[in-house]
Symmetry: C2
């Protein structure tokens, strides 16, 4: 690290909304930023110092990024790791480490590492063909989840199998064995919660309060903080988050999604080695946003305070209507709610269910914030226009 | 205004730290930004969509900016207004309006408008030569302030005259009559306070809490919020801020600096028609930062909530040592204070006393925040390196 840490150039693989929000924080401290993203007018484009327009699997471009940057990070975990592994071995700084990324990328390995370390996860088993799925069905009973071990996000790569008759269809919908597969026992959860945790290069760990999430069609719709769960569960969740960060030796911000079961147990659902949609609330809700925290961690700065400033609700704005040039509707109307903050990601094209933006509402009273957010989500829309 | 307000392109005259901090807020909502600044690598350069590199008095460049932008604003008030007046007359949207800017630019006119509207200001009189300054000395008694009516900032353009023997020297230090001059009665104030106020295009007004300021050599050093003054004075100050915004019909964020006299009266010292150094605390301290509020006002969005989230102290980081490439020292050390946030403006060259950055500390306890900020200001330095 340079004596003046702000002189470090940060390379980000991905120039979507997560990259954009990282840059908005990094620029406060005057870090220089290079992004790599195939889309010229991606959300982060206009605020990056330099943009390497290249595919994520373009090894030459990734090497160029590594040579120009002092430290590399990434905004999504589904990237080819071969070249990154080589670069890490050659001494380039990449955070989170490729060692931790490699395990997390594969949901089976991720769960195995957690299970080996006595961290509770739903029961799971590797499967590679229809017969193995059917035997899993006998062991776990239906319904159960079929998941591709790699590459899934926002519910893609997951298929619920309600009975034995659905096995073949589910198997085919996930590539008919072209990707490694696993079965997870279905967890009849009563709540989905998530926790952000960050680990510095030196091992310092900072954990955020527990957030409570709602999904629709496997896409996050709403996050509420603080979560409405017992103090005991909160303590358990925070302790689990610490354990996870130790196990993976993760550097940077991680999001740990958990299920709360009917009998008040916590099971880890998934870990994301990056800023997470369910952590967007931290921009307005926390002393240190998840994006600032990530930048601090990967540049060797001490971590910031994670306390919640006020109860807060975050709601996603998903693309509606047809595919086309993104147009925001209802911005003026919702902004009349004077604690409501709209984030528009700047994706040129809106598609149905694409994450186009989000907004937060803060209040001294979470119930009030939830109500206001629900009303606003009926008014603000991002639609495609041809 | 376009149906989708985020489609507006904002033109900013000036790409310094105020422009930069405006853009960081505007980008959250995905506004497009064009700046005009003579310095290629000015603080706002890397996050603007487009940068017209031109002098502030380059009329052709300002016309280019106006033609490319949907709305124009500026980060400092000492700009030539002839072309802006023409543009305003031609129907271009410029906020704050050039009508309000023209009055505020001239400290004599500014005070006159305030006085006519029964808003208390220190006694003042226009002077144009040594004899008139001496007669003012007889009327107001010494010490008194000689000020150039136009062009001053950070104490430049002001000279204190302690007795009649200093009249000639003060007169000559302010250009010997080349600029319009005024004398102000010296106010033996016990505190300097400031208030941010914002007015929307439709006349909506939002006022922030009272901030308390310390200056050194006429340069702001520290701002503390909430101000330690009586509730009555706070109410008076807030009411004055409302009056000022009505009088000037200002659109956008204004900062109103006031003196608190020994007998607990408030006198308006100066008005800045722009985001102000004493309002930087709002980034971490307030629900809506002064920069976001300004962007909301000039783009026709409703104003945001101005409540303080936590007691907060802001301290400036002024250039130290020799002039040269700016290097930050002590960043890691001060960041160990986990509520401390450093803003590095990204000016390439550090000069003694140049505003190079600032930091804030928040705490539930203002006294604790003050102490921590004082300690940190001994550690974090921005210096020139050759």
């Amino acid at each position: 690290m340079s004596k003046d840490p702000t002189k470090q150039k940060i390379g980000i693989i991905g120039g979507g909304q997560l990259g954009k929000m990282m840059i908005l924080e990094a620029k406060k401290m005057d870090f220089k930023i290079i992004i790599l993203d195939p889309t010229k007018n991606c959300p982060a484009h206009s605020i990056a110092d330099e943009h390497i327009v290249a595919d994520f699997d373009d090894e030459e471009a990734i090497r160029e990024l590594a040579n120009k940057a002092d430290v590399i990070t990434y905004e999504f975990e589904h990237i080819g790791i071969e070249v990154l592994k080589e670069l890490e071995d050659e001494g380039y700084k990449i955070y989170p480490t490729i060692k931790s990324l490699e395990i997390i990328q594969n949901k089976y390995q991720q769960k195995e590492v957690l299970a080996v370390n006595n961290i509770a996860v739903p029961d799971f088993i590797s499967v590679s063909n229809i017969d193995e799925i059917k035997s899993a069905g006998e062991e776990f009973a239906y319904p159960m989840m079929l998941k591709s071990c790699t590459g899934g996000y926002d519910g893609k790569g997951n298929a619920i199998i309600k009975n034995q008759d659905e096995v073949v269809q589910a198997y085919e919908s996930l590539g008919a064995g072209s990707l490694p597969l696993m079965i997870e026992r279905f967890v009849p959860f009563i709540k989905e919660i998530s926790i952000l945790a960050c680990r510095g290069i030196d091992g310092e760990i900072a954990v955020y309060p527990v957030a409570e999430n709602d999904h629709q069609d496997s896409i996050l719709i709403e996050t509420r903080v603080p979560a409405e769960i017992s103090d005991t569960l909160k303590e358990d969740a925070i302790s689990l988050a610490h354990q996870v960060m130790e196990v993976f030796e993760g550097v940077g911000i991680f999001c740990i999604e958990m299920f709360v079961t009917e009998d008040e147990r916590l099971l880890i659902n998934e870990i994301a080695p990056r800023p997470h949609n369910s952590g967007h609330y931290t921009i307005e809700g926390s002393i240190t946003s998840q994006f600032e925290q990530h930048i601090r961690a990967i540049t060797g700065l001490p971590l910031g305070a994670t306390a919640l400033l006020r109860p807060i609700v975050m709601r996603n704005i998903l693309g509606e209507g047809q595919q086309g040039e993104a147009i925001v509707e209802g911005m003026v109307e919702v902004a009349r709610e004077d604690t409501l903050k709209v984030h528009v990601y700047g994706k040129e094209i809106s598609k149905p269910k694409r994450k186009m933006g989000h907004f937060t509402v803060t209040s001294d009273n979470l119930v009030e914030a939830i109500k206001k957010a629900e009303e606003a989500s009926k008014v603000i829309k991002i639609k495609g226009q041809c």
